[in-house]
């Protein structure tokens, strides 16, 4: 039985995560709280885009229908995207952005660290490069979590609120996914359910030091990996895709 479709699907999941996260982060350009943060956030967005592109290309290649990274990014509909819902949440304030980055980059770190030993050379190579980048992203988010959590009363309130806002979307990250588990059993991918303890330990330590409380929220139903998204993804895609779709087949 060919596992090619599974590999294509898995690469697409990781690529979609990175692409949608990059898209949201890029909305911070010329809006960051300080010029140094415009540079920092743009850097992170570029790194994520740099992960998305080879992952999407690889997915298209393995799929074997001739779809390029741009075909996948610009010409799939809402129900075909397989990113985690946390990546598509609309930008709130800086506290929300940092909360989301903390959760997501910490997950990506644990995931890429293990994916480096994938028996699939392409995935392993992407992971080897990405793990260094997301270590930096995670550290950036942690440093800001500390400063906002343990800064002023207002920043503490906003940071806590930011965590509360994105926390319902945490559960989805670690839910069992048939694709990931099937491939993990063959040493090709990472089973996200295995990442929860290490992720939790890191986050707990950061929140503790930042004087922030571990949020208690009801988990959202999720479904991103199956193409079920929040209403926010549709809005995001409308903006991201519209120009390419206005000129189908054009070269840019």
């Amino acid at each position: 039985m060919s596992i090619q479709p599974a590999i294509a699907g898995y690469a697409l999941q990781l690529g979609d995560d990175a692409l949608i996260a990059a898209q949201r982060l890029s909305e911070w350009v010329a809006r960051a709280p300080e010029l140094e943060e415009d540079v920092a956030l743009a850097n992170i967005a570029l790194d994520l885009l740099g992960q998305a592109r080879p992952l999407l290309s690889y997915a298209g290649e393995v799929e074997g229908r001739g779809r390029t990274e741009d075909d996948l990014a610009y010409f799939r509909d809402e129900r075909e995207f397989t990113n985690l819902q946390i990546t598509e949440l609309a930008c709130g304030d800086f506290g929300e952005a940092i909360a989301r980055q903390l959760v997501f980059s910490c997950y990506q770190f644990e995931m890429y660290q293990r994916l480096q030993s994938s028996r699939d050379e392409t995935l392993a190579a992407v992971a080897a490069k990405a793990v260094k980048e997301v270590a930096y992203h995670r550290d950036h988010a942690a440093q800001w979590t500390l400063r906002l959590g343990d800064g002023t009363e207002e920043s503490h309130r906003r940071m806590q609120a930011g965590l509360t806002r994105c926390w319902p979307y945490v559960a989805e990250i670690f839910r069992p996914d048939p694709l990931g588990q099937e491939l993990a059993a063959r040493g090709l991918a990472v089973d996200a359910t295995q990442l929860r303890p290490a992720w939790g330990d890191y986050i707990a330590a950061v929140l503790r030091e930042a004087t922030l409380a571990w949020p208690e929220t009801i988990p959202a139903p999720g479904g991103g990996r199956r193409g079920l998204h929040t209403e926010q993804l549709g809005q995001l895609l409308a903006e991201m895709q519209y120009l390419a779709r206005c000129h189908p087949g054009a070269r840019w």
């Binding site: 140094e36 570029l46 920043s155 991201m240 054009a250």
Partner: protein, 317 residues
């Protein structure tokens, strides 16, 4: 005593040596530099907006990445320039305050809107092209920190212009709709780009002094002419026309002649009558004000966590 210092200062200029932060300098030299460097920095920061406008809609992932990198570079350039300006004894917070209150300006070119994707290419090719023409000379300006910042900036800038030109060329060789988009953008950005060099020097009383101080190394008209001569063949190579019916090669002069520039429009836009003046400032001031709770938090955290309880330095009272 000051005449000795003035003589020393002039000797350095005459020898084309750099003035460094601890040198004596005429107050007017310092004031002129502060204004020029600060406004250059402000231009980079404001310049992030018209191009940043298209990041979320870039029509390919490669173009999206290039555009994010470019806009990030612009933030970086602004930071290099603020750094250089601070060596003259000003604080960046004060410079930003002057920008926000309108007392210091930014390059008026950024008061124009990026209406289409092709505008991103036009800015890279024409606006960055014009900036580069000016900037190469500034790498040799008399004030050390400014010259060094410009060297760093120039290294990164040439990639920007090439990418802009490539973007437009690709459109010009594309579908009829893409070709029309490219030509429309060029039609709208050509004249404002020429205005970036400023009015003819006979209308610019401070030019002579800036030249004597080696802050300015060429006249506005010289730089504008250089830009035109370089750019006209590039337009032809890309299959694009320039919106000037009087543009033609002058064999005698060895340069391109251009039609008259509408300096009334230039003045109007500088004074606030451009399409985007209000919007650019609102966005900049808005980001700054929305971010103040973040900046305060970081400062509060730093105060709580000083390793030995002593002030960690920086701007002392």
């Amino acid at each position: 005593m000051e005449s000795g210092l003035q003589a020393g200062f002039e000797r350095l200029l005459a020898a084309d040596q750099r003035i460094e932060p601890r040198d004596w300098m005429p107050e007017a030299y310092r004031a002129t530099l502060i204004r020029q460097i600060a406004q250059h920095a402000h231009s980079e920061i404001i310049g992030m907006q018209p191009e940043g406008n298209w990041i979320t809609r870039a029509p390919s992932l490669r173009r999206k990445a290039i555009l994010i990198a470019k806009v990030q570079d612009e933030a970086g350039h602004g930071l290099y320039l603020y750094s250089a300006c601070e060596t003259l004894g000003v604080d960046r917070a004060d410079l930003l305050e002057l920008l926000h209150s309108g007392q210091q300006k930014y390059s008026s070119i950024f008061n124009y809107p990026t209406l289409t994707w092709a505008d991103v290419g036009a800015i890279g090719w024409l606006v960055d092209g014009a900036a580069i023409t000016n900037q190469v000379a500034l790498c040799r300006c008399s004030y050390g920190p400014y010259a060094r910042a410009m060297v760093r900036i120039c290294k990164e800038e040439s990639f920007h212009q090439r990418q802009g030109y490539e973007l437009l060329s690709t459109l010009a060789q594309g579908t009829p709709a893409q070709r029309a988009m490219a030509q429309d953008a060029v039609d709208r950005w050509w004249w404002p780009s020429l205005m970036m060099f400023g009015p003819p020097d006979d209308a610019s009383p401070h030019s002579a002094q800036s030249m004597a101080w080696r802050i300015k190394r060429h006249s506005n008209d010289e730089l504008r002419q250089k830009f035109v001569d370089i750019t006209v063949p590039q337009a032809a190579a890309a299959g694009l026309t320039l919106p000037d019916s009087q543009l033609r090669w002058n064999e005698e002069r060895g340069h391109y002649d251009i039609g008259p520039i509408d300096w009334a429009e230039f003045k109007r836009v500088i004074k606030g009558g451009g399409p985007c003046n209000r919007q650019r400032m609102d966005r900049r001031v808005g980001a700054h004000e929305e971010g103040s709770w973040v900046r305060e938090a970081a400062a509060a955290y730093a105060a709580k966590h000083r390793p030995d309880g002593a002030r960690q330095g920086g701007v002392a009272a």
